[in-house]
């Protein structure tokens, strides 16, 4: 399937045929799971494990939890809920509210063929320098987006049900039930199955100007169609699986290659078309070309690389199993001399932020410990993945940079300089450009971890048995 068709026709499916529908063949399930491992990993260490569930009893627990929580959240106020349906005329909203507010709609894990629960490490492997859960959950979201698109390509439906694992008590119960240690954060139940019918309309999203800024928060990024001629744009395309497998982390950009604005529009647009909890359009992107900011990011990267590559050769070796000792020595030298410069050499950076404080559901979905705040960062990870996929399909390369964000003093400077309100959380900085020339070892393909090491069947610790 063509990448654009896949991104634009993927929908969040909440109605599956259950027993009356087709079972997803083993080879499709393996292809769906397999696609996850091609997504970005911080320091090449997977911050996630997936719990793979087909057992009807477990699905029943998830379905019951989901209904209870959805009823509690959406049932409390029609006035609040109807605000979620901002894209519908007022007269059509009560019908939707009717089946949502009882929580009945959310029982769909029961009808799904299989459920995947992403579990994100709460700070294990601290040598990977990911101090914040937001980044780790976003990385989980990138893997989920690959699975979602792959399932869609294969003709299966998928939906994110955040409800069953929203609150800490139910999460604790489910942890005991499934054996997921409390050092792993469970982020929603992703349901896959035979959908009742493909949705041929939607989603309703904010306009690009509503969610993208140019250089500084509040300064709208205006589409080229409103300021220039847009009649000669030819959009290249590729197969979705080829794109998923082709995205790589680029450490060397061609400093002379310019990224046209329409390509940035396309990337952000694909981000907008990613799954989005409650359709709240909870992300904002800042497009940055300012050289001073690039210098700042490059300096942050240089400092981080010094710490990373000079701290311990053993650790570096563990993170780069694809390189021989000789290659690794050259690699480290190159990273310290040249590699840190990639934020300067890329043509443009996209800073993605998200809002996790939706106070319309205080005490339930806000920022309470154990609340659903990680759903927002996970979903934003899906958006970032769509942007990376789009970039690759357009012939561009990307690199996920976390250095000015993950260190709190740099983060403070960065946020202040860009005018980001404190209610918005910077998540990742995507460096975008065309690949430049670098020694072979820089672009040497890293091994991708095996799915049987990343997925547990039904219960934590039971390694996945590949299905046929």
């Amino acid at each position: 399937m063509d990448i654009w068709e896949c991104i634009y026709t993927r929908r969040s499916e909440r109605r599956f045929k259950g027993e009356s529908g087709r079972a997803i063949p083993g080879k499709d399930i393996e292809e769906i799971l397999d696609s996850a491992r091609y997504a970005f990993q911080i320091e090449n260490i997977p911050q996630w494990r997936f719990l793979f569930i087909r057992d009807q009893n477990t699905k029943q627990v998830l379905a019951d939890f989901a209904q209870e929580v959805a009823h509690m959240i959406f049932g409390q106020s029609y006035e609040i809920f109807s605000g979620h349906l901002w894209y519908l005329p007022e007269e059509r909203r009560p019908t939707i509210a009717e089946y949502t507010q009882t929580g009945e709609l959310w029982k769909y894990p029961l009808e799904a063929d299989f459920v995947v629960i992403p579990c994100i490490t709460k700070g294990a492997w601290f040598d990977s320098r990911v101090p914040y859960m937001e980044q780790a959950t976003a990385v989980g979201g990138m893997a989920i987006q690959n699975m979602w698109l792959t399932a869609h390509k294969l003709g299966w439906g998928a939906g994110c049900n955040a409800m069953p694992l929203n609150d800490i008590r139910r999460r604790e119960l489910f942890s005991t039930f499934s054996g997921v240690p409390m050092s792993w954060q469970m982020c929603a139940a992703y349901c896959f199955g035979d959908r009742t019918s493909a949705r041929s309309v939607g989603p309703s999203r904010a306009s690009l100007e509503g969610v993208a800024f140019n250089e500084h928060w509040g300064n709208r990024f205006i589409r080229i169609g409103f300021r220039d001629d847009s009649s000669e744009i030819a959009i290249p395309t590729k197969d979705v699986t080829e794109v998923i497998k082709g995205v790589r982390n680029c450490y060397k950009f061609d400093a002379n290659a310019e990224v046209e604005d329409w390509k940035l529009e396309k990337m952000i647009h694909c981000g907008i078309w990613s799954p989005n909890p409650e359709n709240l359009n909870h992300w904002r992107h800042i497009v940055i070309r300012d050289e001073k900011i690039k210098e700042f990011v490059a300096q942050c990267t240089k400092e981080a690389f010094l710490l990373e590559y000079k701290a311990s050769f053993e650790q570096t070796k563990a993170h780069h199993p694809h390189l021989s000792d000789d290659e690794l020595l050259q690699y480290v030298e190159w990273m310290l001399d040249e590699g840190w410069k990639y934020p300067l050499e890329c043509n443009v950076m996209i800073l993605t932020t998200f809002a996790k404080d939706w106070v319309e559901y205080p005490h339930i979905a806000g920022t309470l410990p154990g609340g659903i705040d990680y759903i927002w960062s996970t979903a934003t990870g899906c958006a970032i993945q769509n942007m990376r996929l789009a970039a690759h399909a357009l012939g561009l390369e990307t690199q996920v940079n976390l250095y000015p964000i993950a260190e709190f003093r740099r983060n403070e400077q960065f946020v202040t300089h860009l005018g980001i309100p404190s209610s918005w959380v910077p998540l990742t900085l995507l460096c975008v450009g065309e690949a430049g020339d670098a020694p072979d070892f820089v672009f040497k393909k890293r091994p991708v971890p095996s799915i049987k090491d990343l997925v547990f069947d039904e219960h934590w610790g039971i390694r996945h048995t590949p299905l046929k």
């Binding site: 634009y8 939607g202 989603p203 744009i233 396309k266």
Partner: protein
Amino acid sequence: MQDKSNEIKEILEPIISTIHSKSEAQSIINKWINGRYGKIIGWKIRTQDHEENYHLIFDPDGVRLNVGEYPAFDIMMIGDPETILGILKGEKHIDAELKQRRVMVWGNLNEGIIFQKILHKIRKM
């Protein structure tokens, strides 16, 4: 499939000209745009082995018809030539065609319905 650009122009050019010449037509557009920079509506005319893309850009200064796919559209309608041309002419209703699965909408259907109503209103001016 024969190139539909002439037919598309024939259908839309009188509407575009009315928007540019009559202030009440432009004010309908401005009301729809409602403070935004504008709206970009695209459509794909598809047969089994062929696809044509067009888009309309509405902004407070008027409207432009372009051949080709716009990378960051607000709504995209996809269908066979008869259905899409029928919708643009006002002979077919987008919601009815959707129910028959003859058209697909990427984006907000309600915007698509409003777009069709606006075309109809301006055509009668």
